[in-house]
Structure formats: structure tokens, C-alpha cells
């Protein structure tokens, strides 16, 4: 039985071109980019080339790219590196834990944090950002697209407002966006977005795991969180993950392939088909998030009388890999904070299913999934005694 992977928001397989680009840097060209001999210079050249690729994609200068060990680290660097006691941060209730937890830790250290609520569709209201600004606000961090419900936030609008605010010189409010889920599908030009800091993950864009990047606009007074060697212009010490960085660079280059635009339209069509079919054929199912302002590859649906973890396990037994925001699947036994922020009841969050598509998803796979899902939901409703 061929397995069907519908969890691209969790991670993606490495693209064959990416793997090919990476392979010399494990063995043949294994040098340390800090070494001044030929081995080192070859590795340094590869890292620089990858940096250029990212800069080209983001519309920034290569010196504004910092490679990290993950997007989580990039988010931590953006927040801990900029904010100190007495400062104020504005963020949203639906950020990834990699943003929320640093904020919560800073709260304990005397930082003020505003967690903006979202609409029922999961959108941050730019007016609320404006209203939340205080004299001591130094950072606004709003994700570009949400990882659970795929809602696309008005980042450019917020960026534009903060830029106009910056005319008034003091104090400068820096704008960070976690763009991890957006990179495959949305414009990430940092000038268009008006951001000062932007986080990228490699393994969500068909690159390898263990590498991320933070765009840091020139002049942002960022301090490192990892010390010891002064790599990455002092912002991220530690020998570069050369093969990983090369992989990330190649993954970003692949995204710019014009063919991908057509690919993304195809993915969007599959998404719409899934949403339409499921909500039509399965009673008591509802879409979570926004129908329109949504990533082309994200579907999040709640089923009444069904628990999400059981649904994921049952589908896995049929060879289909998906995800859930159910409490039973989390380490904390708490339901998804994102779904609760939308105003969903605990029970609705309990029965949520996330289906995320990718460039290798086929029409045939979706047909199979749509054939299997109704019977699995029906069976779990028998088990729960629902209706």
C-alpha cells in the first residue's frame, strides 16, 4: 500500500535538486568556512553563494542574512536579541510556540507583552496593532501565515503603518514576521512587507532539517543569543552547517522557478476540492480559519463527536498521514491555542484535523483520502456514541 503524505506543514521531503546541491559538502568539500586554506575557502564560497540566493529571494543585502540551526532559533534570536527589561512587545495569540514561549519567558523578566486576539477566521486586525502601541513598544511580531489554520495575516499593511510611524524618530518599533509557512506560496520581499526581521525554515520548503535563517535589516540593534567564535557577523556563533545552508539556498532557488506558480494553482484547486467535498459529505464538519485569506495548501476541519488523535491514528492505519490540534496529541494535554483563540469550544478543537498539501501531492492521492475519510469518521462516531 503506497502511503499518502498530507502533512507538508509539519515537514517536507528534500527536493532531489536540493539533495544534489548538498552532497559535495559532506565529504569532498568538507572544509570549515572559517579556515583560510583551500578547503575552507571552498566551503565559505558555498555559504556565501547560498546567502546570495536568500538575499535575492527576500530582496535584501546578503549581509542581512543570518543562518541559524532552525526557525525556532531564528525566532528566539529576533525576540531575545532585541527586547530587554522595561520594553513592550506586541504579538498575537496564534503565534507559533517558538514566538509565544520566548515572549512568556521575557514577561517573567520584566517585559510587557500584548497578545492580540484574532477574529473568528483567525485574522489579526491591523487597527488593534496600532492601538496596542505604547511608548515603550520595541517589537511587533506577527506571523505571516499560520501553521495550523493557514490564515494569511495582513503583514504588509502592518509593516506600512509601522514604517509611517517610524518618521516619528523615537523610539523605533521593529517588525518581525515568522514567515516559515508562507515562503512556498507568498511574496516574501522584505521591502514589500516592511519588515525588519523575517524567519525562514529550510525543512518546510523541501530543504534539509537543522537549518533556518533570520533576515536582519541593517541597523537593527540585535544582540546574539549564542556566543563563541563570532560567526554570522557575530550574531550566531558556531561553525556553519555548510551542507544544510547550501540546501536551504538551493530550496529557495527552486521556489523561484516559474513552474512553481502553476504548481501552486494546482495545489489551491486540490485544497478547494477537499474543503468542498468534506464539508458536503460529512455531517457536522466545519472549516476552521478563513476560506479566502488562506495558504493554498492548508485545510483545517473540525468534526463533532470525533477526537483528532484517534482520527490521525485510524487514518495512519490506512496509510494516510495528517495532523490534529487535539489535546490528546499534544505533550501538554491542552488543545491547540490557535483553535481556542478562534473561539472554538474545547470539544471542537478536540475534533480538529489538519490536512496540508505539497508539490508532490497528486489528484489520485486526494481521491483516495476523500474515499477513506468519511468511513473513518463514521466509525469513530460509532465508538463515541455520537448520534
Amino acid at each position: 500500500m503506497a502511503k499518502i503524505y498530507l502533512d507538508y506543514a509539519a515537514t517536507t521531503p528534500v527536493d532531489p535538486n536540493v539533495l544534489k546541491a548538498m552532497s559535495p559538502y559532506f565529504k569532498k568539500d568538507f572544509g570549515n568556512p572559517s579556515s583560510i586554506h583551500g578547503f575552507g575557502q571552498k566551503a565559505l564560497g558555498a555559504v556565501d553563494e547560498a546567502r546570495e540566493k536568500l538575499a535575492n529571494f527576500l530582496g535584501c543585502d546578503a549581509t542581512e542574512i543570518v543562518f541559524t540551526g532552525s526557525a525556532t532559533e531564528a525566532n528566539n534570536l529576533a525576540i531575545f536579541g532585541l527586547v530587554g527589561k522595561g520594553d513592550h512587545i506586541i504579538t498575537s495569540q496564534i503565534e507559533h510556540h517558538a514566538v509565544l514561549e520566548p515572549c512568556q519567558i521575557l514577561e517573567k523578566r520584566g517585559v510587557e507583552v500584548t497578545y492580540l486576539p484574532v477574529t473568528k477566521e483567525g485574522l489579526v486586525d491591523p487597527d488593534q496593532v496600532k492601538k496596542a502601541i505604547r511608548p515603550n513598544t520595541v517589537l511587533v511580531s506577527i506571523m505571516y501565515a499560520n501553521n495550523e489554520i493557514g490564515t494569511v495575516q495582513p503583514v504588509a499593511e502592518i509593516g506600512q503603518f509601522l514604517k509611517s510611524k517610524a518618521q516619528n524618530p523615537k523610539p523605533k518599533i521593529y517588525f518581525h514576521t515568522d514567515a516559515v509557512q508562507a515562503v512556498n506560496y507568498l511574496d516574501c520581499n522584505v521591502k514589500n512587507l516592511g519588515v525588519d526581521l523575517l524567519t525562514i525554515s529550510s525543512h518546510k520548503i523541501y530543504g534539509p532539517k537543522g537549518v533556518g535563517s533570520l533576515f536582519v535589516r541593517k541597523g537593527v540593534p540585535l544582540k546574539p543569543i549564542i556566543y563563541g567564535g563570532g560567526h554570522e557577523r557575530g550574531l550566531r556563533s558556531g561553525t556553519e552547517n555548510v551542507a544544510g545552508v547550501v540546501g536551504l539556498g538551493q530550496a529557495v532557488e527552486e521556489i523561484q522557478n516559474p513552474k512553481l506558480k502553476i504548481q501552486n494553482i494546482r495545489i489551491r484547486q486540490l485544497r478547494d476540492k477537499i474543503i468542498k467535498r468534506i464539508t458536503k459529505i460529512i455531517p457536522d464538519s466545519r472549516l476552521n480559519g478563513s476560506p479566502k485569506l488562506r495558504l493554498p495548501n492548508n485545510i483545517n476541519i473540525s468534526f463533532k463527536g470525533v477526537e483528532g488523535e484517534a482520527l490521525v491514528i485510524a487514518l495512519d492505519q490506512k496509510g494516510i498521514a495528517v495532523s490534529t490540534g487535539s489535546a490528546c496529541s499534544s505533550k501538554s494535554l491542552k488543545p491547540s491555542h490557535v483553535l481556542l483563540a478562534l473561539g472554538l469550544s474545547q470539544e471542537q478543537a478536540h475534533g480538529s484535523l489538519r490536512i496540508s498539501l505539497g508539490k508532490f501531492t497528486t489528484e489520485k492521492e486526494i481521491e483516495k483520502f476523500l474515499k477513506v475519510l468519511p468511513s473513518v469518521v463514521k466509525r469513530l462516531r460509532e465508538i463515541s456514541g455520537y448520534k
Partner: protein, 130 residues
């Protein structure tokens, strides 16, 4: 390669033997895990035999994860045919080990099943007194 759930858990989750309702049950136990939100209902049918009260039949309905469903089925299996006193001695550890060990994160599912049975027995005893 070690998987999260044992074969036994998956088997009891996919093919529970004791799923369903009992009409005119002698006792019904409703229990909920307030942390994760799982909901479980255990039905028992009690018969008297030589002065002993024996669980003749036991069924469940569970809105919960695969482990909660498997634990529900297992408590039914372990309680069936036992006297009430004996059934009450079935602990969550028995349930877990019979399922080839629940993952540590899922032990509370077995505790929920244990509580569910206890409440069904208590419900029966309450009804008896009325």
C-alpha cells in the same frame, strides 16, 4: 523501529469487542478527563448468582484518543464475568500492561477507564438502594 503505540493498542482501538450500549443497563458510569477533554461511558449488566453479584456484560462508548478507546475496551474485557468486588480491584496498571504498555503520556487514559467502571458500579449500587 519502535512505534508510539503497541500492536495491542492499535488492535483494540480498531476492533473493539465491547463497543456499544447496553439497554436497561444495571449501571452507567460517565467520566471525563478534565485536562484533555476525553469523555467515556461504561455500561454494566449485573446478574446475581449464588448470592454473588457478577458483571454479566459490559460495554463502552468513548470520545477520545486511540489509547482511551483501547483502554475502554480493555477494562470491559477485564471486568466481564467478575464479581463486583473483583472488578473493582482491576487497576490502571493492569489495563496498561494488558495493552502492551501505554506510552507514559497515555497512562491517564487507563485511569479514566478504571474510574469509568467504578462509577458504573457505584451507579448500580445507588440504584439498588432506591
Amino acid at each position: 523501529m519502535k512505534s508510539h503505540y503497541s500492536k495491542e493498542i492499535i488492535e483494540h482501538f480498531l476492533h473493539p469487542k465491547h463497543l456499544g450500549k447496553i439497554k436497561n443497563a444495571s449501571g452507567v458510569g460517565d467520566t471525563e478527563n478534565l485536562r484533555c477533554g476525553d469523555v467515556m461511558r461504561i455500561y454494566i449488566k449485573v446478574k446475581k448468582e449464588k448470592g454473588k453479584e457478577i458483571i454479566e456484560d459490559v460495554k463502552f462508548e468513548t470520545l477520545g484518543c486511540a489509547a482511551a478507546v483501547a483502554a475502554s475496551d480493555m477494562i470491559c474485557e477485564l471486568a466481564k464475568g467478575k464479581t463486583l468486588e473483583k472488578a473493582l480491584t482491576v487497576g490502571y496498571k493492569n489495563i496498561s500492561s494488558k495493552l502492551g504498555d501505554l506510552p507514559p503520556m497515555k497512562v491517564h487514559c487507563a485511569q479514566l477507564a478504571q474510574t469509568g467502571l467504578k462509577m458504573a458500579i457505584e451507579d448500580y449500587q445507588k440504584k439498588k438502594r432506591q
